[in-house]
């Protein structure tokens, strides 16, 4: 980290070339927050790329099997009927995001947002191929030559390969990845799988390679309403104006305070490292993703100058103005209460979930039939869903009307794990037991091998009206 002052001149020059959208060349940073972000990015990327490879009881541990309409999450299988759980999970995630934002500002953006994570990965590749920020700026200013072409080609080639891998893994979360790999290697990918691999790959390449901070600025709704979630006790990145101003260069070894200067040496490093190209010294701006790169770099400068750290720091508005800070404020408490209530409700209801589903569908072709011996007969199709991890045998019973006869009594209905069985049944009732044209009846399904597995479902029994 030397020779920085010369680079100021270079950015201004490049800024003029890119009059519309200034290309931003974030300078590499080191420091506490940079390492935090690096470990965050690495673990999230690891989770994303290796997640589908995890196995559980001989199948993919986490698989959102869209083609089969089933979600596997370790021990559990979720069906479209369980949509409510997904909705609850999304609500929990949203409230958690609000809570974190109210407490610590945009930590999500700075450390965990996929846009940040993949942009970091792409920046890393860019730095490996094109070199430091200064080299990148120089290369972009140079005219086209074979050497430049080779460097750019290499970069895009690696980017695109990486993006396609990303697209492939994306589809691997939704369709079993081992089979997907086999099909890819033998060029037998389904058209839609191939399409989504390319689509997602293209989106990755575009967003992380080209769009970058513009995604945060133009596309992210979260960035726009951040001010609604912030209050005076929220941790934000800010510049201590009182201490920093008046900014300006100074002679080494001179006492800046007696010279009437502030602590900011106006080295502009905080601007150079900023992935969204803003100057934090202008105050809180909606473009700031809270990545703390400027904190790291300014602390380095302060250390070098022998000044106190944290001229740019994570702080709250109240702390900055010497006011009292409070952690548990009403909005935080409300978020915490909501979060606990919904989470507890979600987990108890998942734990108590009966992994057995029953739907009753009346035969549409006839209302009822009178048998030779004067009974009234209705026909139904039962849809039995075994959502458990083991196959089961079930017994069926009916009730609700006196003297109902279930034809085709059996030793139990076998349904495989994760299967749906369409099971036709005929039910007869004596005509004089029916008081109306339509009477309610109940179907009871119990697993023979497990008492806890039982469901009841109502249906309608149709008959003639005599009275």
């Amino acid at each position: 980290m030397t020779e920085k002052n010369t680079q100021n001149v270079e950015i201004t020059a490049v800024e003029e070339v890119y009059a519309k959208r200034k290309k931003i060349y974030p300078r590499q940073v080191t420091g506490l927050f940079a390492s935090l972000r690096f470990s965050g990015v690495l673990s999230l990327l690891g989770l994303y790329y290796l997640g589908p490879l995890m196995q559980w009881n001989g199948r993919q541990a986490i698989l959102f099997d869209l083609p089969a309409r089933k979600f596997y999450i370790f021990e559990w299988i979720f069906w479209p009927q369980d949509f409510i759980y997904l909705a609850a999970l999304l609500i929990i995630a949203a409230i958690a995001l609000f809570l974190v934002t109210a407490l610590a500002g945009r930590v999500w953006c700075g450390y965990a947002c996929p846009q940040t994570v993949w942009t970091e990965a792409f920046l890393w590749i860019e730095r490996k191929v094109e070199g430091s920020r200064a080299k990148q700026i120089k290369l972009d200013k140079k005219g086209w030559s074979w050497g430049k072409f080779r460097i750019k080609f290499t970069k895009h080639f690696i980017w695109i390969t990486f993006s396609l891998l990303t697209g492939f893994v994306f589809v691997g979360w939704f369709t079993p990845i081992t089979e997907l790999t086999a099909r890819t290697l033998s060029f037998e990918l389904g058209p839609w799988e191939a399409f989504w691999i390319f689509f997602y790959g293209f989106a990755t390449y575009g967003n992380a390679g080209w769009m970058r901070e513009q995604v945060c600025m133009y596309m992210c709704p979260y960035a726009r309403f951040q001010s609604a979630m912030f209050d005076k006790n929220t941790l934000v990145i800010s510049y201590d104006e009182e201490r920093g101003e008046p900014r300006g260069p100074r002679k080494k070894g001179s006492d800046y305070q007696t010279d009437g200067k502030g602590a900011c040496v106006d080295c502009s490093l905080c601007v150079q490292v900023c992935p969204t190209g803003i100057d934090i010294r202008d105050g809180l701006q909606y473009q700031c993703i809270g990545c703390a790169a400027c904190v790291d770099v300014c602390n380095e400068v302060m250390d070098k100058m022998g000044y106190q750290r944290n001229l740019v720091s994570y702080t709250t508005e109240n702390a900055l103005h010497g006011k009292k800070e409070s952690f548990f404020r009403p909005r935080v408490l409300i978020y915490i209460i909501l979060l606990s209530v919904i989470s507890v409700a979600l987990f108890t209801s998942i734990a108590q979930r009966v992994p057995l589903g029953l739907d009753v569908i009346r035969d549409r072709s006839s209302l009822y039939r009178e048998t030779d011996d004067g009974m009234i007969e209705n026909v139904y199709t039962l849809k039995i869903m075994n959502m458990d991890l083991k196959p089961h045998r079930y017994s069926l019973a009916v009730g609700g009307i006196d003297g109902l006869i279930l034809k085709k009594q059996n030793k139990g209905i076998h349904v495989d794990s994760g299967a749906v069985l369409n099971y036709p049944v005929r039910i007869q009732a004596e005509a004089d037991k029916l008081n109306a044209a339509s009477t309610e009846l109940m179907f009871y399904l119990n697993a023979i091998d497990d008492d806890a597995l039982s469901v009841a479902k109502e249906g309608r029994f149709l008959g003639p009206v005599y009275k």
């Binding site: 519309k20 959208r21 869209l66 083609p67 309409r69 479209p80 949509f83 369709t175 389904g190 058209p191 839609w192 799988e193 399409f195 989504w196 769009m211 513009q214 133009y218 596309m219």
Partner: protein, 83 residues
């Protein structure tokens, strides 16, 4: 017109394609959670497409509709020329 030009072109495209993309994603999830395309097609008859295919086609149809909506919104946002 000069007012219009202040909005960067990327932002304009994004303002149409992106919100409609998000809404169409949500609509696709809700729709296909409630209805299994294979069952619907079983009732009315259709082409031989996989579930993945129906999901994808459904998604793009929704996206087409929602982006049409966004285009109209943008169009009506322009002030009328009153002479």
């Amino acid at each position: 017109m000069s007012e219009d030009n202040k909005v960067p072109t990327v932002q304009r495209f994004v303002a149409i394609l992106w919100p409609s993309f998000v809404v169409s994603g949500i609509a696709t999830i809700l729709f296909f959670t409630a209805f299994d395309p294979i069952e619907i097609i079983g009732c009315v008859g259709g082409w031989d497409v996989s579930r993945m295919g129906y999901y994808s086609i459904g998604f793009f149809l929704f996206w087409l509709l929602t982006s049409l909506n966004s285009v109209l919104t943008c169009y009506f946002l322009k002030p009328c020329a009153i002479k």
